[in-house]
Symmetry: C2
Subunit: 335 residues, 2 copies
């Protein structure tokens, strides 16, 4: 059923039917006619064709959302916020996953351009390499076409971003751990070229100053498996015994490390203390509770949507993170 059918059924012109149904800017249809049209529409089970509307109006109601992996609790929490906020603005969310592949990321940006998305939110860190040129270029093309863009987590040059203060959070974590009496650390650093991981690593290291030292900084995948393998390697190399605490640059890595420790028969925190980064909510039932730095994922999602829908000067908002001390890093000073 098309609007023409409705118009005919109601005995009015196409134009009138259109105005009656969506009440456009120049609302001006006699109530009686509105009712007639509405009834006709109901009778015919008419549903406007969003595609055609988009074309006629010249803009869609789609918001593109790019994440690495929607099954990752970090991204699914952000996605929940994005979806909620977008829906409140009358936008549909078109979800795509980059699978950690920079090339794919640029491709997907292009896809959003094709879909004529009204705005795009891109979450998830990237590498600091030349590859990111492709991304920047795609993004620029998008922006030129008038699409609102916002990046989450790691700011993108020329794009409105809501950044996470990874350095500050890591520094605060370092300070807290030092206060608790920890001195020697092993850092599960994530991929060296991943900006987020790097900031957390460096933030931690810098804040340590001469009050603490890092016995080992391992490069790993930014995943559960990465954390898992890294801890096994540390144990194998014998560094673990020489260390007060293991600090992972994200929570799922910390979980992997936790699992690995258990497999090795090492108790956490008795044999090795552990800290993560992220504060993903499903962790609240893990034992021991994980010391971590919480990132306000909901806020990230909400602000990103607002930014993407906003005026687009390349703002960089920054959200802070909070250290949460859990059972995985007990106070050493009493001991």
């Amino acid at each position: 059923m098309t609007l023409s059918d409705v118009a005919r059924e109601a005995g009015v012109s196409l134009a009138t039917a259109s105005r009656a149904i969506n009440g456009s800017a120049d609302r001006s249809v006699r109530p009686e006619l509105v009712e007639r049209v509405t009834e006709a529409a109901a009778r015919l089970q008419y549903t406007p064709d969003a595609t055609a509307q988009a074309m006629a109006r010249g803009r869609t109601t789609t918001l593109g959302l790019l994440v690495h992996d929607i099954a990752d609790p970090y991204f699914s929490a952000i996605a929940a916020a994005v979806v909620r906020t977008a829906e409140a603005e009358g936008l549909q969310v078109s979800l795509a996953t980059t699978q950690n592949d920079p090339a794919r990321e640029a491709q997907l940006i292009d896809l959003m351009r094709r879909q004529r998305a009204r705005a795009v939110v891109i979450a998830g860190g990237r590498s600091a390499g030349e590859r990111s040129d492709a991304l920047a270029e795609s993004l620029a093309a998008l922006g030129r076409q008038g699409v609102g863009i916002a990046a989450i987590g790691q700011p993108v040059p020329g794009v409105a971003s809501v950044a996470v203060d990874n350095r500050g959070g890591a520094a605060a974590l370092a300070a807290s751990l030092l206060d608790l009496g920890y001195r020697r650390f092993a850092v599960l650093g994530g991929p060296t070229d991943r900006v987020t991981a790097r900031d957390r690593r460096e933030g931690f290291l810098d804040a340590l100053g001469d009050r603490g030292s890092v016995a080992s900084s391992v490069e790993t995948a930014f995943t559960w498996e990465g954390g898992h393998r890294a801890l096994l390697r540390l144990a194998q190399d014998g560094v673990l015994a020489d260390v007060d605490a293991v600090v992972a640059t994200n929570d799922v890595m910390a979980l992997g490390a936790l699992a690995a420790a258990r497999e090795l028969g090492l108790g956490v925190p008795q044999d090795v203390a552990l800290a993560g980064f992220g504060g993903i909510s499903t962790l609240r039932d893990v034992v021991p509770t994980l010391t971590t730095v919480t990132v306000p994922m909901d806020e990230l999602g909400v602000r990103a949507v607002r930014l993407a829908l906003g005026d687009q000067g390349d703002v960089v908002e920054s959200v802070g993170c909070d250290v949460v001390i859990g059972g995985s890093t007990p106070d050493l000073r009493g001991a």
Copy 2:
């Protein structure tokens, strides 16, 4: 930039440009021209307008995905599979969340109809009430319009579904627990009218037969908080002491119960044994490991997409679930 611009730039007709760029059914453009067009398109940074294509072709490349809450690990795991499979088919996923609201669910189905989605996957259980009529009606309207539909988890009458064998899984769980020596149970039953919860509850009860008994079956929200509150109530009512194991009808409820037990100073499994249902992957690091019934979420997603894209006879595929015994329900026979 529109295709006309490209055509002009390349010095060919609009039709030729169209054929050159998307290589439609009647591929028949001289290679030389194809190249000229391609180059022109590149020079102009032309990107086809998916909206216009959809309209011209009469069909979109959108797959709608409805879940209750994308932050829930169960749904995000399904979503990951759906997105992956859809992308492989060249479809974009339009994500919407129902927030457990049946009215909203029907609304969203309508929204998908508006978007002229090519197919719709609807995940997440519903109530067995009159309310579901609205859903069935919307769904029927969708189907009539030629949209492929598939339901995940709980079959919907008249709709291709991939069902979870909740009854069977629950029965198997009951059998396993009985084998381990458990006899008296408390069941955290979820909402009484929720079909999924009901099937699990009844499946468990039926399989118990006269070998075991249920001391208490509590109605609760299907959430962490629901499980949490329910366990507190059980403790308060004194039933907890009288019971061998607490069986939750889903994993997040079990986690809530686990947390509540800890708050009460009760050890799991020393003071109370616990089982869940679902097998969400983030649980692998919870201590003690939770006895549960795993549901193959990835498979659910993949098959649902195939079903939605397929021939649509109202098939009901069924996937089985497996009991996994964890540390939360130790063997009682040795004791």
